[in-house]
Structure formats: structure tokens, C-alpha cells
Amino acid sequence: MRTYLAHVELINPITTAAGCAATGKELSQFFDLNRIGALVTKSITMAPRAGRPTPRMAETPSGMLNAIGLQGPGIDAFLERDLPWLAQRSVRTVVSIAGGTVNEYGALARRLTDAPGVTGVEVNLACPNIEDRGRVFARDPSASAEVISSVRALMRYDVPVIAKLSPDVADVVAVARACVDGGADALSMINTPLGMSIDTETLRPSLAAVTGGLSGPAVRPLAVRCVWQVHAALPGVPIVGVGGVLTGRDAFELILAGACAVGVGTALFHDPYSCLRILRELEELLQARGFQRLADAVGLAHRPPGSAARHRADLAPGPGAPDFTVPPDPLNMEESSL
């Protein structure tokens, strides 16, 4: 079930989500990493980072909050130890990078550009911009575009640059468009929306960091919506759909919305084999519905209604029925623009 992320071919559309598969070694105890489309690393930073204090995690209904704080060894150790380990095993590796300034992202790209074994670079834009009073890059189209174009300029031309977007914005399409204009070859969405929970025993925030990112099936409706909106506005741009994928059905949902690859995050914590299970389930679903190629399913739910039969035939107007369907509501721009 081949797919393309920009010009890079992946043997299948299932990838890990950034920050959810550590260095890859841990996951490789459970299955051969070559069997998935790509491994996305956790976001790599310039310096080593100890991350945030614990508690870093809180379970929420059908989801979890995390505030890891990008704990990691820094780019040097990554290039010395983790990337070579993956490269030796020919694991298709998308390196996620995170920075606090446009320059820091650029510096990371510069370090990666000659590193062997980099299939793609994913730019985690959900970081506070030191130069703009900590305003998160991903919430600002122009700051996002600046980061992307800096990374794109410094990264080898044949390594696709993927912009990872957040749903915590009024208009995700505007950010997506800015990133594409800035040179993004593909988009990945969604990163975790900012959430919080309070421990009603201690009467304090559950997380030491107070707020954290919400992930898991709870956010899947947000991910589907973002993928849908962006695919509608920018149909030519490859999208990695991420958010709450637990099963092949969920992956299929994001693909129908417009994703050509699907990232699996929180599900890996629940089931370390989930990538392969999801892949198998997805293959079965596509087969059962007669799809020959994955590409035929990408964005399929956008085709005008009626071009395929509604499932509940009893609700569809009969062939000769007068056309009493609702005229487009001029004010529902959210839908009518799609």
C-alpha cells in the first residue's frame, strides 16, 4: 500500500507520531521498524533537555495530557547515536525538530542536511517563540512560514520538509497556506491542543507544568476536521493525518478526509504493536471496499454527495423524488466554502 510524501515513496502510509516512539529502539523490540511507512523521531533540539518535572501525564476521558517538555539528548547525541542506529537498519526516518527561534530551527536543519538516513524533516511548530514573548509559532501564520522557509532553505533539496500544525488556532487553513508558501512540501496535523486537568484531591493542576497537550481518540474529531479543511483548501499538498488513531478505521477516516499518510501516537502507549495492527486493519478495510490503490481513497469523502450511495438507503431521496433538499445556507461559510 505505497504512498508518497511529496516525492518520497513510503511502503505504506502508517508512521509513528513525533515523540511517541522515543528513539525507535524501544519499539523495535516489538516489531521490525522497516514494516511501517516511516518512523518519526521525537522532536530534536539543539541542546540536551531534561524536560519538565513530573507528574508529566494525566489521563483524561479517551485521551491523555502530557507535558514532557521535549526531554532529549540534543542534536549532537542524536546524530552520533540514535540516527546512525536507525540508518544502519535502513529505517525510513523522519526527523522532528523543535526550536525556540527561527535561527535555532535553521541550525538544526543545517546539522541534518548532510546526515545520512534522513527521509524527511518534520518541523514541530508548537514551540514558544522566544523572540515574540513566547507566542507559539504554530499559532501565527507568518512566524510559521518564517521557520519553514529557513528550514527549507538549509535542508537538502531532496529531503521533504513537513510542517506540523496545531489545532489551537482560529483558522488552520491560514497557517497551512503560509507554511506551504514558505516552502513546506507536506503538512502534518494535528499536534496536541493545549489542555489541563486539576487533581481534585490535591486541589492543584495534575501536571507539574500546569497545562499540557491533549492526545488520543478524544481529539480525533479535531484532527479529521483540520485535515478536511486543509485538504479542501490545498488539495495538492500531501498531509500526514495525526490524532487519536487507534484502529484501521480511524486511519481510514483521516485518509478519507485527505491524509495520504497517518501518524500513530498515543495508541502506541496502549498497544506497542498498534502500527502493524492498524496497517493490517486499514488494508482489510480498503480491500473490502474495492480500493486498488491508497491514492484512490485519499480525500474521497470530499466528492460531492450523491456520487456514491448513502449507506442508509432509506434516508436517501428516491430517484424520482422532487428535489426538496436544502438550498445552501449562505451564512454557513464553514461548510459552503469546502
Binding site: G19, C20, A22, E26, L27, Q29, F30, K42, S43, T45, M46, A47, P48, R49, A50, G51, R52, P53, T54, P55, R56, M57, E59, P61, S62, G63, M64, N66, I68, G69, L70, Q71, G72, P73, A98, G99, G100, E104, N124, A126, C127, P128, V136, R139, S166, T192, P193, L194, A208, T211, G213, G216, P217, T266, L268, F269, H270, D271, P272, Y273
Partner: protein, 286 residues
């Protein structure tokens, strides 16, 4: 990963489940734990719950037993499992207790359900000719796990309860110095609440004997991928790192764990915000 529940039992304040899981039983070593999915197929609870393996048996190809207390909704659900239900477990996980090469004298200290992990360890130690003495404690008699079995297996067994309802009134750390002195212990193993482990480690340091502790940190994955379960541990090189309790642990040398700093990032930890190693403020916020 799906096993059938063979038996369920109550042990004083605790519940115990025995599950058919040959793949786990086969590879078990004392100190290992399992990560259990809770709530069934359409559960809103996504993260697995971690439990030390109490016992493995060869029945039905291999069974594992774990002992637990009901804390929140996940353990409440587990407490309702019945024989023949299926349970989804991942394991064995974690770094087990290292065993001494020589037939030394070991004091095994357990607090509350922490004792559950010590009997497999005692077994392995005794097979190597070690002498085993137990110190088990809990808030009250019904929260001291495995007293009978300890009495059968141990050279001596000392029990403590905070309310005095069983053994000595007080904590395991109150009696531990006496036991170490009496038995001339060479090494201490401990499992229990962090507070207990901190105290046990302090005692062992006083006696200048090694101590191995199995810690408990909130975990989301149990397999080293999510980075939620970290605590500050001093490495061989003297550098403090935030290490994963599930992958590098749960068993650590007690002296290396910075118990006072659990729940913080010590300023001198590798990559701490203020540290010279860097650790700028970059963070994934949303």
C-alpha cells in the same frame, strides 16, 4: 497479549488476579512488571496500569499473578474481573532485580503491596544459597502483604504496622537498622512507596551496604516511549539524568536515586533549564 483470567482472590485489603500468559511467565525474572489495559473494548481509559508480577506458575503453559489495591477507576474495573474474563497485558517489562553472585545475606523490605514482588526474588536468592530475611510493613494488619509466606520463606520476618495492629508499631525503617545489624546483612532489596524507599536507602547508606529499590512512578506506556515516568538518577559518571522508571528501572541502586528531588528537575541534571549543558526553553506546548 490477551490472557484469560484463571483465578481471582482477595488477600486482606488486596485483590489478586492470576492470568494465563505463557509468553510473560516464560521470560519472568523477579522485579519485572506487567502493563494491563483496563475498561474493555470501548473504554475511555487509554493508558495501561502497571503492576509488579507477584508470582508465575507453569500451569496452562504459564500464568502470572499480580496483587493490587483499588485506587481509581482502572483498578476498580480490575477488581471486578472474574475467572474466564480476558485481560490484555504487556510484559514482562522493566529491569529486574540484579542478583548477587555469592551466597550473601539479604534483607528484603516491602511496604504495602510492594511486598508482592519480593517472593520471586527471595526464591531466586535462596536458589543461589543466599540467606533471606524479611521486613514487611503497612498502615494496618490487612495492608501488610505476604506475612505468612515471608514467615515460611525467610530466616526471620519482622512486621510493622503504623497502627500497631500487627507486629511492631511503626514503619519498616524503624526496625530495619536492627534487622541489618542482627543478620549482618550484605545487601538490601526494597519495594514500596517512595517515602519508604527513601528511608530504606538512608538506612542502607548508614550501614554502607548496597540497596536495590523498585520504584513506582506514574506511567503511561511502561515500555520506554512516552517519557512520563522519569526521576532523577545519578549515573556511573556522576551526572544526574532524568531516567525512565519503566525502562532503566523500576529497579535502581538506591544511592543513585535522588529521592529528595523526585518531582523536580534538579538544576544540575543533564539538560536542566539552568544547567550549563544547555536545555534552552524549547517545548512542545500544543
Amino acid at each position: 497479549m490477551t490472557g484469560t483470567v484463571l483465578t481471582t482472590r482477595r488477600v486482606e485489603a488486596y485483590h489478586a488476579l492470576t492470568v494465563v500468559a505463557p509468553g510473560i511467565a516464560e521470560r519472568f525474572r523477579p522485579g519485572h512488571f506487567v502493563a494491563v489495559a483496563v475498561g474493555g473494548p470501548q473504554s475511555s481509559m487509554l493508558t495501561r496500569r502497571a503492576f509488579s508480577i507477584h508470582d508465575v506458575k507453569p500451569d496452562y503453559g504459564g500464568t502470572v499473578e499480580f496483587v493490587f489495591t483499588v485506587r481509581g477507576p482502572g483498578t476498580a474495573w480490575l477488581a471486578e474481573r472474574r475467572a474466564r474474563d480476558t485481560l490484555d497485558l504487556v510484559g514482562p517489562l522493566g529491569r529486574p532485580f540484579p542478583l548477587p553472585r555469592d551466597p550473601v545475606t539479604c534483607v528484603l523490605v516491602g511496604g504495602e503491596y510492594g511486598s508482592a514482588t519480593l517472593f520471586g526474588l527471595a526464591d531466586a536468592l535462596q536458589q543461589r544459597g543466599c540467606r533471606v530475611d524479611f521486613v514487611l510493613g503497612g498502615a494496618s494488619a490487612d495492608r501488610v502483604f505476604g506475612a505468612l509466606r515471608a514467615r515460611r520463606m525467610g530466616e526471620t520476618t519482622t512486621l510493622t504496622t503504623e497502627d500497631g495492629s500487627l507486629g511492631m508499631r511503626g514503619k519498616v525503617t524503624d526496625v530495619l537498622p536492627g534487622v541489618i545489624a542482627d543478620t549482618r546483612a550484605d545487601v538490601v532489596y526494597a519495594c514500596g512507596p517512595m517515602e519508604t524507599l527513601r528511608g530504606v536507602t538512608a538506612v542502607a547508606i548508614e550501614f554502607d551496604i548496597p540497596v536495590q529499590v523498585a520504584v513506582e512512578e506514574a506511567m503511561a506506556c511502561g515500555i520506554g516511549m512516552c517519557m512520563t515516568c522519569v526521576l532523577p538518577v545519578i549515573g556511573e559518571d556522576g551526572v544526574t539524568r532524568m531516567v525512565r522508571a519503566c525502562a532503566e528501572g523500576p529497579v535502581f541502586r538506591g544511592e543513585r536515586v535522588r529521592f529528595e528531588d523526585v518531582g523536580t528537575i534538579p538544576f544540575d541534571a543533564l539538560g536542566a533549564p539552568g544547567s550549563p549543558s544547555g536545555g534552552g526553553g524549547t517545548r512542545n506546548v500544543s
